[in-house]
Symmetry: C2
Subunit: 267 residues, 2 copies
Amino acid sequence: MAARARGTARRIVIWSRRPETRLALQKQPWCDATADTPEEAVRHATLVVLAAPVEKIIELARQIAPALPAGAIVTDVGSVKGELTRACHAAMPATAFFVGSHPMAGSQKTGWENASADLFDKRVCFVTPLADTAATHAKATETVARFWRDLGSEVSTVTPDEHDEIVAHISHLPQAIATSLCSFLAQKNPAWRNFSGNGLRDTTRIAASDATMWIEIFQQNRDEVLRALSRFQDELQGLHAAIANRDWPEVRTRLDRGKTYRDAFRP
Amino acid sequence: MAARARGTARRIVIWSRRPETRLALQKQPWCDATADTPEEAVRHATLVVLAAPVEKIIELARQIAPALPAGAIVTDVGSVKGELTRACHAAMPATAFFVGSHPMAGSQKTGWENASADLFDKRVCFVTPLADTAATHAKATETVARFWRDLGSEVSTVTPDEHDEIVAHISHLPQAIATSLCSFLAQKNPAWRNFSGNGLRDTTRIAASDATMWIEIFQQNRDEVLRALSRFQDELQGLHAAIANRDWPEVRTRLDRGKTYRDAFRP
């Protein structure tokens, strides 16, 4: 939808797992054609975007590999990049290129019905070429980066492993926290949610996200998530200890450090 | 401002600590007069609203007590109610009534410049009469509840101690979490905030709140905050253990419980 709205694609061919989704997409003005198989969808493609759960992305890369035309570039939108990038790169034929992406856009809502043409506008998008393919994949990396920039994204190029450490901290840890806060309050007294102000509402919004998607992310990025969680648990225990010890200067240091960090977010 | 906009007050007299604020408020259309002292401000009042940090509210209640006309009702907007309510009740003369309030409204912004007449609209407001004054303060409690309802709030009447347990969980714990997440990320790599999507943005918004206000809240509600923090730390450790043990059914249980809780929030 975004690619059509911004004129970045000549022809948009979609394959979707469920036949009823393919049928519905045929009627969408931004979709030129639907294909009955992934192979058929990529047959004449210059750029392929694999948008599926992380496990499925690797399967799809293997499935389309024999059907890719020479020079085709394949990217994806998976939330974890280390293993996925290595597996997808290994699956490519010699004449095609895999360069992973992760647009930091979306919401707790899923499905094409919730699509919007400005979803990527002003959002960060990671592009994650493997360090050891930097030379051979330079042109493909630039093409993928330009694709996301054309959709309005701000592109950051990092290695797949750097990406996984970053998102463990700024995305997966906040999800673990929001989920745990809601899971805790659900067991304590769910009726209290009716008393909540905007603070609890905002702090917990992402707890409404799709559970299956998050299990896959926690599975795929398990080591980095556990590392970030442990360090955050230390931080929280530090605040607990400071309050327990009535060490108010230490509590202030933490409140101030948090406020300074948050105040520097872009509006 | 809200009381004027909704016609709930005949005459609005304001005292504010800083003379320059009093000067500025004199020019506000919703303010009938300003007073140079708290005593002067309450001299002819039927309803007094103490809007100040928690410690100052108790001081102010003691200061205005001798000046209160017979039948005057005093309330406040403090975020913690147990000790405060007992202290303010004890400070009242025999002919005046203290019934605490806590409107769950506001933002990380402070000061009259950030005032808005619809701040209380559709927000929860706790009214917290002491259990042992329920009979003598029934009429005063109803007056205070009606005041907040007239400003658009949804009033819940609970005891001061129930209130403190509830807000420890739905307000003070989220603050401790948001502050700790920001404090942690500030030390890890502050530049990563530029990669953040709306998830981190929402989860951390309240970390920008005023540090001094929060130290006072943590001081005043220390026991309940520590209890809630400990139980939340157990919950987080439970998720950590489940991910570490690859116990994905347990991870799903927690994600599902959190999602079910969050999905039931009012829109």
